[in-house]
Subunit: 495 residues, 2 copies
C-alpha cells in the first residue's frame, strides 16, 4: 500500500492548501482592505498553481497507477476512485489553458462589475466571448479525456456523475408544469388576506443575535465556524472552520434570517463530513446539487415550513418588540412563502426560481454548443423571461448581466440550483416519513431530528456514494421531480 | 539574465506564500474558532514545507550560481545577494532538522501555556531541553554553512549581519550604566508630584476610536491595513495588507493607546517598503532590530515625548469627558514615562526594559554554549533579576516562564529588542536635528515630518543596506549606545 499511502499524504496536503485558499478567499470578501487586492490575487494564484502542479505531477499519476495494483480494502478503493477522478479532471486541461482561463475570467469579472453597473452589455461582450471560447476548449479537453460530451464534462466538474441525460427530462417536465403552477399559486394568494410587511427598522445587532440563535438551533457548531458579514452571502472557509456570511438590511428582516438559514444548511453539510476521511477526497462533500439541497432543506423545506414559522413568529415579535397583526405567525408564514415573478434570480421565491434556472441552462448549453452567439444573448435572455415569467426586461443589468457565473467561467453550474431544490424536497419527504417527530420538532424550533437524519443519510457518506446512489439509499429511488412538485403544490396551490 | 529572472519569479512566489501564511497566522490569533486549530496547523505546516522546498530546490541553487555570471546591474546584484542569503539560511538546515524543530516547538509551546498557568517549570523542562538541543544543532549547522559561531548564525537569521562582537560591548556598557540610571530616575520621580492614575472605566468603543485616530495621525494607510483585537498584540499580515492588533482594558487606557502606537511603528515600516522591489528580497524590511526601532521610534521617542503628550492630553480629556488634574498634560506625561522595576518584561518601562534583555541574552548565550543547563535556568534567572533590578521572583510564571521565546525556539531574538531601542534613539536624534519642525509638529499631533524622514532614510532602503550601513547613511555613524543613554538621561534623570 506504499503508493496509496503516499497519495493519501499528497491529498491531505492538497486539502490543507485548499483550506488555506478557502480562508484567504473568505477574508477577501469580509475584511480585506481594498489596497490588498493585488497581493491577495498573487497569493491565491500561487496557491492554485501549486495545487495544480502537485495534483498533475508525474509522480501523482504514477502512484495512481501503482495503487491500482495494491491490496486495498473497499474503503481505500473508494478513496482511490475519488483521487483518480480529481486527478483526471485536473490533468485533462493543459496548463496554458488553465492560465488562459484565469486571465480571461479575471478580466471578464472586472469588466462585468462595470457593465452591470451601467447596464452596458456591449462592454462585456468581447470578454464574455473570450471566456466562452476558453470554456468550450476546456469542455472539449475534459470531454476527450473523460469520454464525455463537453457540457457533460463541465457538469461533471461541479457534480460528479451529473449528465444532460439526467437533467433534460427533469427540466422538460418542470418547464411544462411551471407556468400553470405559478398561476395557480398566485390565484390562491389573491384569494388570501393581504400580506403585511413587518414594520422596521430592525436593529442590525438584534438581527445578528437572532441569526446566531437560529444557527445554534439548526445545529451549527460554533467551535468549528463563524458568522460574518459580506456583500454577497456565501459559505466558505476550511475543514473544521466553516465560515458563513450574510448581509443585514435595516428595512428587511427576513432576508438576513432566511439567508443565514440557507448558508447554515451548506455549513452543516461541511461540518458533518466524515471525520474518518479527514483530508481525503472520499470525505469531501459530494457535488454542488447535493450541497445546494442541504442549504434548501434547511431554508426552504424546514425554515419556511408552517411549523417553524410558528416557532419563529413569537421569537421575532419579542426580539423586535413587534406589535400588531403583521407579527402573527399566519402573516409571517404568508410573507415567507410569497410568490411573485421577478427579474432577479437571487431574489426569487421557491416557485418562480426554477424558471430562472431553466432559462439559463438552455442558454448556456446553446452557447457551449455554438448554437447561440454571445452577441445574441440579451435577445434570447429577454425572450425567455417573457415566455417563462411573463416579464419584460427593461435593461441588461436586470437581465443577462445580473449573474457573475458566465463572466466567471462557471458554465455548467446553474442547473445544480434547481437540482438541489428537487433533491431537498425528495430528502425532506423521506426524512419526515422516517422521523414522525421531525415536523413537530420544528414547531419547537428544534432541528435535531432533521439534522440527525441528514447526518446519517447524507453527510456521513462524504463522497463515497454518487449523488444518484446516495438518493437511492436515502429515499429508495433516484432523483425525481415528483417530491418537489408535490411540495410546491402542497405549500402553494392546495387550498 | 535568464537565471536572475527565473529567480525573481521564484522569490515573488515565495513572498506570495509568505503573505498567505501571514494572513492565516493573523487569523488564527484574531478570529479563528478553537476547533479549527488542528486544520490551521496543517495549512501552515504545508505552506512552510512548500516554501522550504521551493527555496532549497536544486533548481534554485543552480540558478543562483548561474545568475552570478549574468550581466546584472547594481540593483539586481543587491537583490541577488539577498536571495543568496535567504537561500543559504534555508539550505543550511537539513529537512529532518527543520521538522524536528517544528515538532519540538509545537509541543513545548503547548506545554508552556500550562506550565506558565501553573508556575510549573519542571513540567516544561524536558520540552525546553529538547528545543534547546535542536536549536544548538541548527546553530551549528548554520554556523558551519555560513562560517559563523552558532549564536552568531542564529542572530544572523533574525538580523542579517548582527554578531555578538557588536552586541557584547554595547550590552556591557549598558550593564555598567543601567543600575545607576534606574536609581537616578526613581530619585527624580520621588521628588516630583505624585502621579495620578486616569480615572476609568474607559469604554472600549471610544478607546478604539482614539487608537484609529492616532494611527491615522501617524500615517497608517488604512487602504492597506487594519486594526483588530488579539490576546497578544502584534503586527502581521502581508504586503499591502498590514494587520496590527491590540487588546483593550476598560481600566487601563494608556496600555492600548501606546501599544497601538508601537504596532503602528512596525506597520509604517512595512507599508513604506520600496514599491519597485515588490515581491523581491531586496524590498523586505531589514532585520528585527531595525523593525523594533521603528515601533519604538513611534511609541517611545515620539509617542511618549512631552510634545506629543501635550497634544494627546486634551484629546483624551475630551473623548472620555475627563475632569480633574489627572487629565492635565503634565500628569499624563509623568504617567507615560513612569519608571518602576517590575517582574514582567512586556510591562516594563523604557529604562528598566534593557535589564530584562541583558539577563535573557546572557542566559540564552550560556544555554546555547552549553554553559547553562535548562534545569538551572530558574535559579540563574532569579539571581539575575535580583542583581539587575533588585527584585525577588516569587514563582517561575513571573520569572523564566513568562516569555514564549525559548519554548518557541527563538534563541537569538531577545537582543533585538534593546538594539531596537538604541537604534530608535539614534535615528530620532538625527531626524530631529535634520527636521527642525519634527518636535513642534508632534505637539500638533502631526507625525509627518518624522515619517517623511523615516521613509527616506529607513523604509525606502528595504533590505538593500545592512543595518549598520543604513545607520551610517542615516546618522553618520554605526550603532552606538550614546544616543540611547543621552535620551534616557534627558527624559528621566535631568532635572
Amino acid at each position: 500500500m506504499q503508493a496509496y499511502r503516499s497519495l493519501a499524504l499528497t491529498f491531505s496536503r492538497l486539502q490543507a492548501l485548499e483550506g488555506a485558499a478557502g480562508i484567504l478567499g473568505w477574508d477577501s470578501q469580509t475584511l480585506m482592505p481594498d489596497g490588498a487586492a493585488e497581493g491577495r490575487a498573487d497569493q491565491l494564484a500561487t496557491l492554485r498553481g501549486m495545487i495544480h502542479d502537485l495534483l498533475t505531477a508525474p509522480a501523482t499519476g504514477e502512484e495512481l497507477a501503482r495503487a491500482e495494483a495494491e491490496p486495498l480494502g473497499d474503503a481505500e478503493r473508494t478513496n482511490l476512485r475519488e483521487m483518480r477522478r480529481i486527478h483526471r479532471h485536473a490533468s485533462a486541461v493543459p496548463r496554458d489553458l488553465v492560465e488562459a482561463n484565469s486571465r480571461a475570467v479575471l478580466r471578464a469579472e472586472m469588466v462585468w462589475r462595470e457593465a452591470r453597473r451601467t447596464a452596458d452589455f456591449p462592454l462585456l461582450l468581447p470578454h464574455l466571448a473570450e471566456v466562452l471560447r476558453v470554456q468550450r476548449e476546456i469542455g472539449q479537453a475534459k470531454g476527450a479525456a473523460l469520454g464525455l460530451q463537453p457540457y457533460d464534462a463541465l457538469l461533471d466538474g461541479y457534480d460528479p456523475g451529473l449528465r444532460r441525460s439526467l437533467i433534460d427530462p427533469l427540466f422538460a417536465e418542470l418547464r411544462a408544469v411551471l407556468p400553470g403552477l405559478i398561476e395557480a399559486a398566485r390565484a390562491r394568494q389573491a384569494r388570501e388576506p393581504t400580506v403585511l410587511a413587518l414594520p422596521g427598522p430592525f436593529a442590525i445587532e438584534r438581527q445578528r443575535e437572532v441569526c446566531l440563535s437560529l444557527m445554534r438551533a439548526a445545529g451549527f457548531d460554533f467551535r468549528r465556524g463563524r458568522l460574518d458579514v459580506s456583500l454577497h452571502p456565501f459559505c466558505g472557509g476550511a475543514v473544521d472552520d466553516v465560515r458563513i456570511t450574510t448581509r443585514y438590511d435595516e428595512t428587511d428582516l427576513m432576508r438576513a434570517l432566511m439567508g443565514v438559514l440557507h448558508e447554515t444548511g451548506h455549513a452543516l453539510y461541511e461540518q458533518g463530513r466524515p471525520a474518518a476521511w479527514r483530508g481525503q477526497p472520499a470525505g469531501e462533500a459530494r457535488g454542488m446539487s447535493l450541497h445546494e439541497s442541504q442549504s434548501l432543506i434547511i431554508e426552504m423545506q424546514a425554515g419556511r415550513s408552517r411549523e417553524f414559522v410558528a416557532f419563529l413568529a413569537p421569537l421575532l415579535r419579542e426580539t423586535f418588540r413587534g406589535e400588531g397583526p403583521a407579527w402573527n405567525s399566519e402573516n409571517l408564514y404568508r410573507l415567507s412563502t410569497r410568490v411573485e415573478p421577478g427579474l432577479i434570480r437571487v431574489d426569487a421565491d421557491e416557485v418562480t426560481y426554477p424558471a430562472h434556472i431553466l432559462l439559463r441552462t438552455e442558454l448556456e448549453t446553446a452557447m457551449l454548443a455554438g448554437d447561440l452567439s454571445p452577441a445574441d444573448l440579451p435577445g434570447a435572455f429577454n425572450a425567455g423571461m417573457r415566455e417563462l415569467l411573463g416579464l419584460d426586461v427593461p435593461n441588461d443589468a436586470l437581465g443577462c448581466l445580473q449573474d457573475i457565473h458566465w463572466p466567471g467561467g462557471s458554465f455548467g453550474y446553474f442547473p445544480t440550483y434547481t437540482l438541489g431544490a428537487m433533491i431537498a424536497a425528495q430528502l425532506f419527504e423521506s426524512a419526515a416519513a422516517a422521523e414522525p417527530d421531525l415536523r413537530p420538532a420544528l414547531a419547537r424550533g428544534d432541528f435535531s431530528p432533521l439534522l440527525a437524519w441528514l447526518r446519517t443519510n447524507v453527510h456521513a457518506h462524504g463522497s463515497t456514494l454518487d449523488t444518484e446512489d446516495l438518493l437511492v439509499a436515502a429515499t429508495g429511488r433516484g432523483l425525481a421531480s415528483e417530491p418537489f412538485l408535490r411540495h410546491l403544490r402542497r405549500r402553494y396551490v392546495e387550498p
